[in-house]
């Protein structure tokens, strides 16, 4: 006997179609109200312009400390988020609105603002050491470090530099020289480093500035790409099935995007290019799900011509339920792993997918099928499937 989660059930899904449509409507309404009048959607640097800075501190800090530091220099309204790694990693987004006559000046102003943020965070850390001619080992580049090593350890300079920088990449930042020693350094090298360098309190791991012109362009291109790909899907489904199925698919996609975005708007996460990729992935899974059901409906219709469409749809949904749960389950597992272990950069993306993978099943059952049913009620003439 095959191992089965359950026997093919007989749930009358479509009995609840109007309840579900109402629920969908409510969720989207709440999301739209929140987007338009509440929190709003936070556009990330990709679309909204400005600068996103990621820093790692040597010792744990709190968001409030950082906010206070920035407030002291008049940059208090920057958004600050902790980004994992035991309170050492933070993500700072400058949100000051800059309006300049020229987009280049605007970009430069953003850059300057970012410089100010970094300068404020650093404070006067390392000033004394730099004054004594020491070099910050947490911020030195490979050329600089090789040059530093050249005097006493000429032959080993490139190898030493590589092993130290690889370790630094791994750790993000050196907290003390004990950590530096893990690069497999000889005692004399370590003594030399202690003598010539110091460990600065923070390092900037990334910084991204998008000017107004580029931001507008990215927005335009992303919108264009999404619209065209939706049209492509509509045309194909209308061609392979029937027009109402294509229309239903588009409604489903709209629901997928709107519901996910609604949930997203209630978090403090930002919309960036990878989030667009996540939304498209959700749409992809959802359309896959929808087509599997439609395919089954197409097949069942041929076998049971007398049955009403609603009965056939319920039957198809039930027949495919095992497959739906297994597929969604595996996707959920994958995305769940990404969400838990994927690190900060991918976290927003995984969050989006987590909502979307469940929502995709819901939308197939309670949006795709009902729309086709409603359509056939309004335009009852069309019959049979195109082959």
């Amino acid at each position: 006997m095959p191992l089965e989660l359950f026997k093919t059930p007989h749930i009358k899904f479509l009995k609840y179609k109007y309840h579900a449509l109402a629920l969908t409507f409510l969720i989207i309404l709440a999301g739209l109200i929140n987007i338009l009048f509440g929190n709003g959607l936070k556009l990330g640097v990709d679309f909204g312009g400005g600068t996103l800075i990621r820093v790692i501190y040597k010792t744990p800090m709190s968001v409030n400390d950082i906010r206070q530091t920035l407030r002291d220099v008049g940059l208090g309204n920057s958004s600050i988020q902790e980004a994992g790694k035991a309170g050492k990693e933070f993500q700072i987004r400058t949100t000051q609105v800059i309006k300049a006559a020229d987009s280049q000046q605007e970009l430069e102003a953003h850059q300057k603002l970012a410089d100010q943020v970094i300068a404020a965070l650093k404070g006067n850390d390392g000033a004394a050491e730099l004054g004594r001619g020491l070099i910050d080992l947490n911020n030195i580049d490979s050329r600089g470090l090789t040059a530093l090593f050249t005097t006493p350890f000429a032959a080993d300079a490139p190898a030493l530099t590589e092993s130290i920088l690889r370790l630094r990449n791994d750790k993000g930042i050196f907290t003390d020289y004990g950590e530096v020693a893990q690069a497999g350094l000889k005692p004399e090298v370590l003594t030399f480093l202690k003598d010539k360098t110091f460990l600065g309190k923070l390092t900037v791991v990334s910084r991204e500035t998008v000017g107004p012109q580029a931001g507008a362009e990215l927005r335009r291109k992303a919108t264009l790409a999404v619209i065209w790909s939706l049209i492509g899907m509509l045309v194909y489904i209308a061609f392979r099935f029937k027009l109402e199925y294509g229309v239903a698919a588009i409604f489903t996609l709209a629901q997928d995007v709107l519901i996910t975005v609604s949930f997203y708007s209630f978090t403090s996460r930002e919309i960036n290019l990878p989030i667009i990729a996540a939304l498209l992935t959700i749409v992809g899974f959802s359309i896959n799900d929808t087509i599997v059901i439609f395919d089954r409906v197409r097949e069942n219709q041929k076998a049971k011509r007398k049955e009403p469409l609603e009965t056939i749809m319920n039957l198809s949904l039930n027949q495919c339920l095992g497959r739906t749960l297994i597929t969604t389950g595996t996707v959920f597992l994958t995305v769940g792993a990404l969400f838990l272990f994927g690190g900060k950069v991918i976290n927003d993306f995984a969050f989006c997918m987590l909502i979307g993978s469940i929502e995709g099943v819901y939308s197939t059952i309670f949006m795709s099928c009902p729309i086709v049913l409603i359509w056939t009620k309004i335009f009852p003439k069309t019959k049979g499937f195109r082959k």
Binding site: D141, G172, K221, M233, L280, V335, A337, V345, M353
Partner: protein, 511 residues
């Protein structure tokens, strides 16, 4: 062995081996995007109008010369816009002569006479060609500079009409390289008439408070400790174009400097100017900013040095920029993304861990739930991933974070294809069909759903590739490749494995 099976196995083996050979070792063959590897991503715009303006000014100078030579009188020639200027004050009886000159020497320009003034505009085709050339030349110059700086695998490409994308993986000193790329590198030597002064007013006091027609006011470069304002001659004694050899050397105090040699033509001009202006300051100007203004101690002919309180690095960079030549137009940055290597390494590590956990749990589930058929699915899945990486290596595609998203969707749909087939087989068996019949019906009945869903997604991904930018393109590429591989492995390969492992006599299907 069953008919045709041999060929199916052979085809699969060839593709599998091909994919492995192409993508091995994976670390070198799959290029990671900047978000995973660290580096700099710049989007820049070439100010092509600059190039046209420069060209227009040159033509105006040439025309004025020609008019003087041919004794055509005029009051003034003014540039109205890039690629458009007017000649004023010519008498109507000179119209023929003016026409002759314009026809003969300014072939790319259209002109309209209106009484005493003539409007001259660059023909649209020539204007476009000039802009195109400015962009192409900028790409070339930037590539030169980046190559000389020593960046491995830089990407410098045109993007749209006037934009460039510069991607420099693994660069860990972003500020320096940005300066190198963006410096227009227009180098000029001009005689200093007054300055430095704290502001323009003081500077112009002895010239009746206005800039004399043949002079201009320039600012000093604070980086070179040459603050203040300078009044210099408009016409340069020599320019960067006259240089033949540039290298880093030392000034008389042992500080880093850049020494140069001049081409013969430039050398003779330099000799004349320096000979006539001994003990007067000569400004060295880079991109309209005064770098230094040494006194001319003696007549100089074919070589000299550029001083400016440089550090060794700065002197090296200046040499590099001068060697690669000037940019034909100004460059404006639209977008800068600098990703440190540690952030990318973090993402890769975390992504791998998550991927591993996900794949292991999916595999475990497939085996527990579908038993031996589950093993079949896993083989197909692994083959799918191998082909995916082979194809990525073959097309030299770059793997980015959104690209990983594409892979997730691809693998998700691959698992789904197997689930669809297996569930269908179970249904057919429940209806009492034989093993071979169930296998065959499972594949044929599930095919339309698999085909339609994969093709729909491929269609949408093609549009995303066509219209999307960077990350979205990366997503589309992995998705398309993964889904194509999926149609091959889940439908074709999985089917022949079933055929090969089951015969008419097989009583039970392990599913």
């Amino acid at each position: 062995m069953k008919k045709g099976l041999r060929w199916k196995i052979l085809l699969t083996a060839v593709i599998l081996i091909g994919a492995i050979v192409i993508s091995y070792p994976i670390k070198d063959k799959i290029k990671l995007g900047l978000d995973l590897k660290g580096g700099i991503h710049l989007v820049m715009q070439v100010m092509t109008d600059d190039a046209v303006t420069m060209e227009t000014d040159q033509e105006i100078l040439r025309l004025q010369d020609l008019f003087k030579k041919n004794s055509i009188t005029f009051t003034i020639v003014t540039r109205e816009a890039p690629g458009k200027f007017t000649i004023q004050g010519t008498t109507p009886d000179q119209e023929g002569k003016v026409k002759d000159q314009l026809d003969q020497y300014l072939r790319d320009w259209d002109y309209i006479f209106a009484g005493t003034s003539t409007t001259v505009t660059l023909k649209p085709l020539a204007l476009n060609a000039m802009k195109e050339q400015a962009v192409d030349q900028s790409v070339e110059t930037i590539r030169n500079r980046v190559d000389q700086f020593g960046v491995a695998e830089p990407i410098i490409q045109r993007y749209g009409k006037e934009r460039l994308i510069v991607e420099l993986p693994g660069v860990d000193n972003p500020e320096r390289i940005q300066d190198i790329i963006k410096t227009a590198a227009i180098l000029e030597w001009k005689l200093v008439k007054a300055g430095p002064a704290a502001d323009e007013a003081t500077l112009l006091k002895e010239f009746g408070d206005k800039v004399p027609e043949d002079m201009e006011v320039l600012k000093g470069d604070p980086k070179r400790r040459a603050e203040g304002f300078y009044l210099v001659e408009k016409v340069a004694a020599i320019t960067g174009k006259d240089l033949s050899l540039v290298r880093r050397s030392q000034d008389e105090y042992g500080g880093p400097a850049v020494s140069f040699q001049l081409k013969p033509d430039g050398a003779s001009r330099f000799e004349k100017v320096t000979g006539a202006n001994i003990n007067k300051p000569l400004a060295i100007i880079l991109d309209k900013k005064v770098q230094s203004y040494p006194n001319i101690n003696a007549q100089i002919s074919d070589s000299g040095i550029i001083q400016g309180h440089f550090t060794i690095e700065e002197a090296d960079d200046l040499v590099l920029i001068l060697r690669s030549g000037a940019l034909p137009a100004g460059i404006k940055t639209l977008e800068t993304r600098i990703v440190g290597p540690s952030l990318g390494a973090d993402s890769v590590k975390a992504g791998l861990l998550a991927g591993l956990i996900a794949i292991l749990s999916v595999m475990t589930f497939m085996i527990v739930y579908y038993k031996l058929s589950g093993v079949n699915a896993i083989v197909a899945l692994i083959l799918n991933v191998v082909i995916l990486f082979g194809a990525l290596a073959y097309f030299k595609a770059t793997l980015t974070l959104p690209g990983i998203a594409g892979i997730i969707l691809g693998i998700g749909m691959a698992v789904d294809a197997n689930v669809l087939i297996f569930e269908r087989m179970r249904e057919e068996m429940a209806l009492g069909k034989s093993v071979m019949n169930s296998i065959s019906l499972g594949f044929s009945r599930a095919f339309s759903a698999i085909f339609d869903s994969n093709l729909t997604t491929i269609i949408s991904a093609v549009f995303l590739f066509q219209f999307g930018t960077g990350p979205i393109k990366g997503y589309a590429v992995t998705l398309i490749v993964s889904l194509c591989a999926n149609l091959f492995t889940a439908v074709f390969v999985s089917h022949w494995i079933f055929d090969a492992t089951h015969t008419k006599n097989t009583k039970k299907l392990s599913i």
